[in-house]
């Protein structure tokens, strides 16, 4: 595959499509984990559950990579020349990432608190911790790139 052409296409994606990719990337992994959690205690074949998990997870990984590629060099500052608009966008992307992360953490903490105060117990084993750890490892570094892809308006047509 011609990588120059591919990255060019990603840069010129309209915002509506970029936002769909970002939404897919954000929802994909939790959805895949939820599917496994819901199905693992059923009599469903393990291979079928694994297939379903991969069917949801693989497009999520692809959209995460697309988001990272879109913001490549601008979020991490590796692009040789970031002008004032790039720097402003980067600042906005980091600010939005912080807000999104805060909302997710508050929501998860509140939901856990409600669950626990309702008389339930929460068992933290290796597999449930791994799911949470994977989310932290993958999403926290990727959030600013995803948010940049979310906020940037469509590129002007070439002159």
């Amino acid at each position: 595959m011609n990588t120059t052409t591919a990255s060019g296409r990603i840069e010129y994606l309209p915002r509506s499509r970029r936002r769909l990719l970002v939404a897919g990337a954000m929802v994909g992994y939790p959805a895949a984990v939820a599917i496994v959690a819901a199905l693992k205690h059923t009599s469903l074949n393990r291979w079928l559950i694994l297939t379903l998990f991969l069917l949801v997870l693989l497009p999520t990984v692809a959209t995460l990579l697309a988001g990272y590629r879109y913001a490549r060099g601008r979020i991490d500052g590796r692009r040789a020349r970031l002008d004032e608009r790039d720097l402003t966008l980067r600042q906005q992307a980091y600010a939005l990432s912080h807000r999104v992360l805060a909302v997710i953490l508050v929501a998860v903490t509140a939901a856990t608190e409600v669950y626990l105060t309702s008389g339930n117990t929460l068992r933290l084993d290796a597999s449930s911790f791994l799911a949470a750890a994977m989310w932290v490892i993958v999403y926290i570094p990727a959030l600013p790139s995803l948010m940049l892809a979310w906020i940037e308006t469509d590129q002007p047509a070439d002159d």
Binding site: D83, R85, P156
Partner: protein, 88 residues
């Protein structure tokens, strides 16, 4: 451009066309990325005061001839509007 910012209108596309400059050529003179020129022309990005003054300096025009809060009218219309009356 954030929601709270006022829209700044500009004549950048007209001035650039008059001087036969592409976005890339203008961007190189200003030391910015060529996409930024497109975003400014479309009104999606308000340049900093420093960049606006640099643009004015490059075109040798007063800054208010390039950027305005009011929608821009053709320059020729502004020049010939209300011609000065001869003193009697």
């Amino acid at each position: 451009m954030t929601e709270s910012q006022r829209r700044v209108h500009n004549r950048l596309a007209v001035l650039r066309a008059e001087r036969g400059l592409s976005r890339k050529q203008l961007a190189d003179k200003l030391g910015i990325n060529f996409q930024t020129i497109g975003y400014i022309e479309r009104g999606d990005y308000n340049p900093s005061l420093e960049l606006a003054l640099t643009i004015a300096e490059l075109f040798r025009l007063p800054i208010e001839a390039i950027f305005s809060f009011k929608p821009m009218t053709p320059l020729s219309e502004e020049i010939f509007r209300d011609p000065p009356t001869e003193p009697r």
